[in-house]
Subunit: 218 residues, 2 copies
């Protein structure tokens, strides 16, 4: 069986590879908040298990076996988040830390039952895709709100980098997934936008926020 630590490294490698196709020791060290020598030795361990390709001083890459293993951990994480929100009434800003622990539970039937009770959801509460049992992860093609033009009408579909801070901000503006957004205007100087949605009229959103809101055309 894989240790929680190994599962966390795999997940971190998966995230880094998704962003930039290749990962390195320093990024892993920063992301996992452990020293570089610690990462170095764990990477040797993962290589020995055939989960990652690694040669001294070269960039890291998950093998297919490693990619799949990582996706299955991510599946446990995201199913858990969805379960916590849909079945236990937690807010989307509360679930990540709990899921970070529950994702390491070793019980296929437990996660199977979650999936079943949830009706086989395809995304987690932050709009990220839930990998299937074979480790296949749907590729999302959403655009960032930043790329929209005044007059566009779009639906909020997912978030990029759903940190607790960001989620708290969205809560304060009552912005939830599924809401329709109407782009009123774009301030070209700083990239901020004025939008209408739900019960909010002329809400101004900074470029930082718009960058992280992933939308689809209606």
């Amino acid at each position: 069986m894989r240790s929680p630590t190994e599962e966390n490294y795999l997940k971190a490698l998966f995230h880094l590879s998704n962003d930039k196709a290749e990962a390195n020791i320093s990024e892993l060290s920063a992301l996992l908040q452990v020293s570089k020598p610690t990462v170095n030795s764990m990477v040797k361990n993962l290589k020995k298990q055939g989960l990652v390709n690694y040669e001294k001083y070269k960039p890291l890459k998950l093998t297919e076996k490693g990619r799949k293993a990582a996706a299955l951990v991510l599946r446990k994480h995201r199913l858990t988040e969805m379960y916590l929100v849909d079945k236990m009434g937690f807010g989307w800003e509360e679930v990540h830390d709990i899921a970070e622990q529950i994702e390491h539970i070793d019980s296929p039937v437990f996660f199977e039952r979650m999936d079943e009770l949830l009706g086989y959801p395809r995304v987690d509460p932050h709009g990220s895709p839930i990998p299937d049992k074979e480790g296949t992860v749907e590729v999302q093609t959403y655009q960032s709100l930043s790329n929209c033009k005044p007059g566009d009408k779009v639906k909020l579909a997912a978030l990029m980098h759903s940190s607790a801070d960001f989620l708290a901000f969205l809560n304060s503006r009552e912005l939830s997934l599924g809401h329709e957004l109407h782009v009123v205007s774009l301030e070209s100087y700083d990239g901020s936008m004025v939008v209408n949605y739900h019960n909010h009229q002329a809400e101004t959103l900074s470029k930082t926020v718009c960058d992280r809101l992933l939308v689809e055309p209606i």
Copy 2:
């Protein structure tokens, strides 16, 4: 924070102390399936934390602090078992192994929410009491079915030692908590009993089984 290993030792000590008021190294070693030297060094660690009273060669006893810490782990375990059965549809024979892992999740709000969704249950799916948030454990006064006489009518309230084997046996006889049992006869030679309940007439139960069925008068 307490490690999963420490939590498991506390729970084991709690169980042993409940049965016989005092525990010893060999029993812990057998129960936890680790060597005696391993137990010896963990006991020193728990003593250093003020969780157990221990002097070389003397019997072990949880301190009040240790007793409470153990009860709170047991609370997490039993709430989880109840949640798995009531809210996720697992059988009472499936939940122990999953709860053995989930009991180590560090998230007060997670177990609070379980408790709330369950309506603050006082017993787990095997009839064992769920300790309260202060670590107080209700003392159960049920009798063993073995102590009943022909003609007695009782209700199955709890199980003693709910092993997977025992639960499978009870499932095969459709015996569940809450069922009314009518003692038809007692075979004094081997202590076996013939009982009626639910849709079962003249079911014979061995002494071993009767010993482990805890009942209350109707």
